[in-house]
Structure formats: C-alpha cells, structure tokens
C-alpha cells in the first residue's frame, strides 16, 4: 500500500487546521462588529468563507480517496467519517459567522446595545475553539465539556429572546439582536456536533 491512514490523517487535519484559522480570522470581524459596530466587513468574510468551502471539499476528497484505497475499519474508519463531519461543521460555522455580518448590513445598528449578544457570541466562540481543539488533540474531556456548555448557551439565548420581547427599544435593534442570537445559537450547536463526533471517534459510542 502506497499510503497509510496516518498520512491521510495528517493531510486532513492540517487542512482542518487551516479552516480553523479562517474561522479565527472571520470571528475577529464579527467581534469588531459587535463591539465597535464596525461595518463593511462582509466582502472580506465572503471571500474567507469561499476559501473555507474549498478546504472542506479538499477534506472530503482526501476522505473518499482514503476510503477507496485503504478500505479502513474501526478507529481508522471513524477517523475519516468524523473528519468529514467536522470539516462540514467548520465550514458551516464560517457561513454562520458571515451571516451575522450580512444581517448587520441590513440595519442601522449604531445605537443598539449588543453587549448581551456579544457575550453569547464569546461563549459560543469558546465552545467552537474547544470543540475543534478536542478533535485535533483527541481530548475526550474537552469534548464532554463542550457538550455540557451547550445547555448554558441555550438558556442564555432564551433569556435574550425574552428580554428582547419585553424591551422597549428600536425595532431594528430587536431584529438584529434576535437574528444574531439565533445564528450564534446555531453555531454553538455545530460546536456541539464536532464535540459529539470527537467523542464517537474516541470511544466508538454516540453520546447523544
């Protein structure tokens, strides 16, 4: 056999790492937006998302090639199926990040209070980073913590929604904050998926 599963694993994971760097990059723009209400970052984020998507496809190609050539089983098989899902989740997170920027373009949010959404975003962000780290480092504990943290995000999300519903502020702010919170909550779900996949990779069991 010309190639080993380890070689594929290296190639796949370094691509996933590159995707992670893209996330780090886009998330800075989102932070910028939520903290400083800075706009006009959408075109750049769109470009970065496209790159992430290309990298996702690259991971899929590696995986399919490895499946065909190695016909792997057990943990080798799980390495490939997991990395396909992780790559998909990361690319999805990229697009969610971009969505936040996109939504911001629609409204004038200069006077909105985005502090709660920012806090929600920071929580989700740390989940995403941890989940990817747990995957790359094969760290079961971290992945479990990510799954636990999801509940917190959900609670916080619902709290924001309730508050928005009862608050007397400008409609655009309610809309923006609501939509952004919703997107962030979805992002956190994908972090959770990554954590779950990691747990499956490591134990062979689906903890869901």
């Amino acid at each position: 056999m010309g190639v080993s599963i380890e070689e594929y694993e290296d190639k796949i994971n370094s691509t996933i790492m590159e995707m992670t760097e893209l996330i780090e990059n886009i998330k800075d723009h989102v932070l910028h937006l939520l903290r400083d209400k800075k706009k006009g970052l959408l075109p750049l984020a769109t470009e970065l998302c496209k790159v992430a998507q290309i990298k996702e496809e690259k991971v899929m190609e590696f995986c399919i090639e490895a499946l065909i050539r190695l016909q792997p089983f057990a943990s080798d098989l799980r390495k490939l199926t997991t990395s396909m899902k992780v790559a998909y989740d990361i690319s999805r997170i990229c697009r969610y990040l971009r969505n936040i920027l996109e939504v911001a373009e629609e409204f004038d949010i200069s006077k909105c209070d985005t502090s709660e959404v920012l806090s929600l975003f920071e929580n989700a962000l740390s989940m995403i980073i941890s989940s990817i780290r747990s995957y790359l480092q094969k760290d079961f504990e971290t992945s479990r913590n990510v799954i636990k943290a999801d509940e917190l995000i959900d609670q916080k999300y619902r709290k924001i929604l309730r508050k928005l519903a009862s608050e007397d502020v400008e409609h655009t702010c309610i809309l923006f904050n609501g939509l952004a919170a919703r997107i962030i909550e979805r992002m956190a779900d994908h972090a959770c998926y990554i954590a779950n996949e990691t747990a499956y990779l490591l134990t062979g069991n689906r903890t869901l």
Partner: protein, 250 residues
C-alpha cells in the same frame, strides 16, 4: 430466533487445546462471518459445527452445538448432522470421477435416491440457484473437474445445497478464486441467505464486512468479540478486534 447455539465449545488436537469455551448464537437466515488471524482456530471452530473436526485423528470436542434445540453431539448422528449442516471448502473439490450432473446429486444418489425425474429436477434447480445452469446445461455429462475454478466452487455449493441443508458452512470459499469469481460467490451468498443460515470463515475482512450480518472475532482459540457486523467494523469494543481489523496486528 436462533438457528444454532454454541455452548461452551472446546476442541483439541491430541493434547493441544485449540478452542476455549466458546459461546455463540447464530440467528436464522443471516450470514455470520468468522474472522481472525491464521491459526487462530476459526476453521476448527467451523468444522466443529458439523462434526467434521472429529474426522481428524486425535481430535476431540467438548461442549454443545445445538441445532433447533437438539445437541448435534449427543442427540444426533454425525451423518444426519452433516446433511443438515452443509459445508463448502477453501479449495473447490468436485469429485473428479463424476460428471457435473452426478456431482450435484452425489449426496442423494449415493444415499439411494435413484428416481431420474427427481434427480433431474434437483440438478436443474440447484445449478440455477448457484447461477451455473446457463453455463453448463448443455454438457452436464462433462467431468466436474474440467470447469474453471470459480465454476467448480459454485458446483460444490450446488452439491452442498442439494441435500437442502438448513445451515451452510463456508471455509474461505473465495480464497482460491479470482476477483470476478469471488464476486459471483459473494452475490450468491446474499441470495442463499433468504432460506439458509450461512457461517463463513474468511481472512478477507473487507469480504466479511460486505457480506455478513454478524461477525465473530476469534483469537488464539478464544472468542474475543461477537456482534452485528456494522458495530464490529465501525466501533469494536475489544482492543484486540480493533487491532486486527485495522491491520495493526503483532
């Protein structure tokens, strides 16, 4: 519903124990793959299931193998067991002195069934079942040894099926065949599953993953893990199984 239950099976060659206290159930009309490294006892295990093991001088068996509630060792005669639990071997072994026709019905003819009409019907049905009819229907009188390796193996499967066994044991049935013939035999196994329980020993783990519903992993004469094939090949519980099926053994 279990067709065959193996209860505390141990086997010896002279004083050397080769199987250790194996417990296992085979559900009806499923394909069960037995995998394991060479010399792990998987073939011996298979041969204990139809009392072929005892043909080897100095061989001994303990434990029970229960076919539909009857222990094949204490409650059945070896000949009866072998008619109910057929076997296909690693190397195609058609009887070289017999025609294709006689090979198919060898088991019946030699046990005294002479009715030409019945035999004709069985030959046609069984050869069709194994997909050999169209290839040989015009020269059934030809010697079975003149067929190609893949055809010979299918002929042997037809021969084993002629006595209408309820369980079919296959000992690495494709290991001496080319890929195309192997694929035909595998396709045949999927069809046979409709009315037969099939236990297949294979050292080709991809094949086990392709054709079986359940997989048992035997190592050093011990049953290490048994479960649904999808489970075994995706997330085996035992580290030994994991090592074996990912090719990281020894």
């Amino acid at each position: 519903m279990y067709k065959l239950r193996v209860n505390g099976l141990s086997a010896w060659f002279q004083n050397k124990q080769v199987l250790f206290d194996i417990h296992l159930e085979f559900p009806e009309k499923k394909v069960i793959a037995i995998i394991g490294p060479s010399g792990c006892g998987k073939t011996t295990f298979l041969r204990c299931l139809n009392r072929m093991h005892e043909l080897t001088p100095g061989a001994r068996v303990e434990g029970k193998v229960i076919l539909d509630g009857k222990d094949i060792y204490s409650e059945m005669d070896a000949m009866e067991v072998r008619r109910k639990i057929g076997m296909v071997f690693q190397k195609p072994n058609p009887f070289p002195h017999m025609s294709i026709y006689d090979n198919v019905v060898a088991g019946l003819k030699l046990m005294g069934i002479r009715d030409r009409k019945i035999l004709d019907g069985i030959v046609e049905r069984k050869l069709k079942e194994v997909g050999l009819w169209d290839e040989v229907c015009n020269d059934l009188k030809r010697s079975g040894a003149q067929l190609s390796g893949g055809q010979q193996q299918r002929l042997c499967i037809a021969r084993a099926l002629a006595t209408e066994p309820e369980v079919l044991l296959m000992d690495e049935p494709t290991s001496s065949l080319d890929p195309a013939s192997s694929a035909r035999v595998e396709a045949l196994i999927r069809v046979l599953k409709n009315n037969t329980t099939i236990v297949i020993v294979t050292h080709n783990i991809q094949q086990a993953a392709r054709i079986s519903d359940f997989t048992a992993f035997i190592y050093n004469g011990k049953l290490i893990e048994y479960g649904e094939t999808k489970e075994i090949f995706e997330s085996p519980k035992d580290p030994l199984t994991e090592k074996y099926i990912t090719g990281r053994f020894g």
